[in-house]
């Protein structure tokens, strides 16, 4: 469903990505791991168009998307969370979801707003409520996100990315800052959306236990290059991967 080939990105003299080719099938799940600075976030940014790659192409659903602006790529059915949170300051979790429901559902028209048809529809409210329950934010649904702790904020981003639902969910270190309870919610939510809605998942994560609990396939990046790509067990047994990544950490 998502395919990239030869993706390359340099920041000055730093090569953040070099010749990265990646495939994610519909309903599939891939963990992207690698040491700090390996280029994981840059890979996500290139796929979403936040950063423009220097070379290579990206296709989604059999169609080239590398010329599309970021918001169009989102509308095609890619939901994403950010390593550095990008929440809408001043808005509550519920408002986050309501505005996303509206945008994903085709947005609105100015004239509809002006004649009073712009307010959230009952269906949108229901879906927002369902999602809030799903990620366990029901009790803080109407508190501005500034007043929530980091774990809760990450769950708001997760819920926002799940509106639609998307065909592909891209999560950038969703578990950092989560406590054990929130981590359990995260794992179970990812399991549920994969099973029940067939959402494909791409997961950048440093916590290997969590990665292995969620994904079937692992891609290892190191200094911008893919050094391993395959089923989780096979990759974890790979000598090069152990040296580049796990050797130092575990």
């Amino acid at each position: 469903m998502l395919e990239t080939a030869g993706l390359t990105k340099r920041f000055g003299r730093v090569v953040a990505l070099s010749d990265v080719s990646l495939r994610i099938d519909a309903g599939g799940s891939v963990g992207v791991v690698g040491p700090n600075g390996a280029g994981k976030t840059t890979l996500f940014d290139c796929i979403l168009g936040v950063v423009e790659p220097d070379a290579g192409w990206i296709a989604f659903d059999g169609r080239r998307i590398d010329r599309l602006p970021t918001f169009r790529r989102g509308l095609l059915g890619i939901g994403r969370t950010f390593q550095r949170l990008e929440l809408f300051g001043g808005m509550t979790p519920r408002e986050h979801l309501l505005v996303t429901e509206r945008v994903r559902g085709g947005g609105g028209r100015l004239w509809k707003d002006v004649v009073g048809l712009g307010r959230p529809a009952p269906r949108e409210r229901r879906e927002a409520d369902d999602l809030l329950e799903l990620v366990g934010l029901g009790d803080v649904a109407d508190v501005p996100v500034e007043a929530l702790n980091l774990g809760r904020c990450r769950l708001v981003e997760l819920a926002r990315a799940l509106v639609g639902p998307p065909k592909l969910l891209m999560l950038d270190e969703p578990s950092s800052g989560l406590d054990d309870g929130e981590r359990t919610i995260l794992v179970s939510v990812l399991g549920r959306v994969r099973r029940e809605r067939g959402v494909a998942v791409a997961l950048v994560e440093h916590d290997l236990d969590l990665v292995t609990a969620v994904v079937d396939r692992l891609v290892v990046l190191d200094v911008g290059r893919v050094i391993a790509d395959g089923p989780v067990d096979a990759v974890l047994a790979d000598g090069a991967v152990r040296r580049a990544y796990l050797g130092s950490g575990r």
């Binding site: 929440l87 712009g118 007043a147």
Partner: protein, 673 residues
């Protein structure tokens, strides 16, 4: 060649003054992120002090010390210590509003102290108009000579100090990352204070040097200086000092060349010369890459979370109902007294307040809801007014002309929005300001548009047999417009567009990720806002019945932003309150002597200084305070335990506290590890 030289040389001293202030603008912008428009006022103050002191027979050097070395730097230091050091991590609007307030407040305070009598400028070293020698056949006057020499010496000294003392290096470190600089032993706030003092000194010097080139020392001359300096700063991309200097000199020369070569006596030649810096500014803003994106990311940015986004508090039901009932009552009483009780001139005042509320609504929509700064709303209002006037002269019914005026203003808004899309924050404000200046200096002077200072006459509307010629009838008409437009803006706020705009204000990346088309949204906001301003302007025209370019001077754009921001930019109610307050205060202060004529602007300008602490506006803050007390009282009466106060806390300054600093760095990245 001799002719060319004789046009070129006089441009250099102007260029020098622009260069000094432009360098100051860039310096403070780099050191504290504030685009200090108040430098224009500081230049004015220095020039005034200098000329008064010299006329009081002080020696020139003593006057210079007081005016340039003491007064302006002291003002600059006070601004940095008392205001702008608290805005380092705030958004562009928070940085801009106090600076705008000061640009307006400082000259009006000065005027109250020294009175309105005309002041003649004094020359600094050499006699301004005396010819000292000739370059080829071109005479070189004392003013030109001293300005150029002093500028070169000062800039040279400055460059030397920057290099040898390490101040330049420290300044760069502070700009890159104040936190990181502090961790490595640089005192960030002291460095930024140094930058403010230095650049204020430059501004003061520019003022004293420029003053003799005009017949009198008056504030508008220094606003022109400010705009040219902004253009030079934009040429330098707000970062390169050598480019700023080169751009400033080039601008000064080009202005003189234009004046020399353009055929005289046409609007283009008389208008283009003053408008030239704005054209350059607009081009530079759109063309310079570095202006499009904010400065490089501070790796430790997350340690200083930006101030919270403003959020209107949710209230207890009883209190909410009560306050709504109270608002309705007050509004009803205002309408009733206007129609029934008040004597003639006050009826006019309330009608004017209603019209102004409409114009202010456009700022609520664009700036409060859309997060975009516009310093050109008066120009959109003028476009609407003059369109309506021209159409009315060609026998179009006035009401239709008013609507068509709004339509044309909307089209202009879309045109201005397109280049603005590539810019962010303060640059959008400057671009709209250059549009407003172009309108005042060129567009509105043609007979087919504003007809200059002569202006147009616009009749009151007549629909069938119903005439709105009387003030009473016209008030009802204007009120109907206000109710319709305010209602529409409120619906937009709660509708799709309003919520998308709120998301966009919160996070551009986040909104793009969920699929919000930022460009379309911004064009919509700009267009809608310009349309409202245009309708407001057209109604203003019909209210006054005769209008000219002076009614839509660019300075009103600045004042309007200050007024709305001071009263409350985030709510529709804020626009209405601002309109009525402004008109009422205008009437109350209109009887004062000319010395205090700027008291009105001063009141709002001073209120704008509180913007740093109360971005929701003074009136909105006051209302929140009262409602907070009302909630406490209600709870007390119910003898209920205080429950979770709800999101209301986020709105008021005091409760900001427990959410704010360091506690929530994760909201702004820099999490984990």
């Amino acid at each position: 060649m001799a002719l060319f030289l004789s046009f070129l040389l006089p441009g250099i001293p102007y260029g020098c003054a622009y260069a000094l202030m432009g360098a100051g603008l860039v310096l403070t912008y780099r050191a504290s992120g504030v685009f200090n428009l108040a430098f224009g006022a500081q230049a004015y103050v220095s020039a005034i002090i200098f000329s008064i002191a010299v006329h009081d027979a002080w020696p020139a050097w003593a006057a210079f010390v007081v005016a340039v070395l003491v007064a302006s730097p002291a003002i600059g230091l006070a601004m940095e210590r008392l205001l702008f050091r608290y805005t380092r991590t705030a958004g562009p609007l928070v940085k801009l509003v106090p600076a705008l307030g000061l640009l307006i407040a400082i000259p009006s305070v000065t005027q109250m102290i020294i009175g309105t009598s005309t002041r003649l400028p004094s020359s600094l070293v050499l006699q301004t108009w005396k010819i000292y020698f000739r370059l080829g056949s071109t005479p070189v006057s004392g003013g030109e000579l001293s300005t150029t020499v002093i500028t070169v010496v000062v800039v040279g000294l400055f460059a030397l100090v920057l290099r040898s003392s390490g101040l330049g290096l420290r300044m760069r470190a502070v700009v890159e990352s104040p936190r990181m600089a502090e961790l490595s032993g640089v005192r960030a706030d002291r460095t930024s204070a140094t930058a403010w003092v230095l650049s204020s000194l430059f501004a003061g010097l520019a003022g004293v040097l420029l003053a003799p080139l005009f017949a009198t020392v008056s504030a508008p001359n220094f606003t022109a200086l400010l705009v040219a300096a902004i253009a030079a700063a934009a040429i330098g991309g707000f970062e390169s000092l050598p480019l700023v200097l080169a751009g400033a000199i080039g601008l000064g020369i080009a202005q003189q060349l234009l004046a020399g070569y353009l055929p005289s006596g046409t609007i283009l030649s008389s208008g283009l010369r003053p408008a030239f810096p704005f054209v350059v500014l607009a081009i530079a803003l759109v063309a310079r890459r570095t202006l499009r994106q904010p400065a490089a990311r501070d790796p430790l940015a997350s340690c200083d979370p930006p101030a919270l986004a403003f959020r209107a508090p949710a209230r207890m039901t009883q209190v909410a109902v009560g306050s709504r009932a109270f608002s309705v009552l007050v509004a009803g009483m205002l309408v009733a007294t206007t129609v029934v009780l008040v004597p003639g001139s006050w009826e006019f005042v309330f009608t004017l307040g209603t019209v102004l509320s409409i114009v202010f609504l456009s700022i609520t929509l664009l700036t409060g809801m859309g997060g975009q700064i516009s310093l050109g709303q008066a120009a959109f209002a003028g476009a609407g007014a003059f369109t309506a006037g021209q159409l009315a002269m060609h026998a179009v019914p006035v009401l239709a002309a008013v609507l068509l005026g709004g339509l044309l203003a909307a089209a202009l808004g879309a045109v201005v929005a397109l280049p603005a899309l590539r810019l962010g924050g303060i640059a959008v404000g400057l671009l709209t300001l250059s549009f407003a200046l172009l309108a005042t200096n060129v567009l509105f002077l043609y007979p087919w548009s504003g007809n200059g200072a002569t202006g147009l006459t616009v009749p009151r509307p007549q629909v069938g047999t119903v005439s709105f010629a009387g003030n009473g009838a016209f008030f009802w008409l204007v009120l109907a417009f206000l109710v319709l437009l305010a209602g529409a803006v409120k619906l937009v706020q709660g509708g799709t567009i309003g919520r998308e705009l709120a998301a966009l204000r919160g996070s551009e990346r986040g909104s793009a990720a969920i699929g919000i088309d930022m460009r379309r949204l911004r064009v919509v906001a700009f267009t809608l806002s310009a349309a409202i301003a245009g309708i407001g302007g057209a109604l203003y025209a019909s209210l006054q019945q005769s209008i000219s370019v002076n009614d839509f001077n660019y300075q009103f754009s600045l004042v309007y932003v200050v007024v709305v921001a001071a009263v409350g930019v985030y709510s529709v109610a804020g626009a209405l309150e601002a309109g009525v307050l402004y008109a009422v205060l205008m009437q109350l202060t209109s009887t004062l002597s000319s010395r205090f004529s700027s008291l009105l602007a001063l009141v709002f300008a001073l209120a704008a200084l509180t913007y740093v602490r109360h971005p929701e506006g003074v009136v909105a803050y006051g209302k929140a305070w009262v409602l907070d007390r009302a909630e406490q009282l209600t709870r007390h009466l119910q003898r209920a335990e205080p429950t979770y106060a709800g999101p209301s806390g986020a709105a008021t300054g005091q409760r900001h506290g427990h959410l704010r600093p360091h506690l929530r760095p994760h909201l702004h990245g820099g999490d984990r590890r």
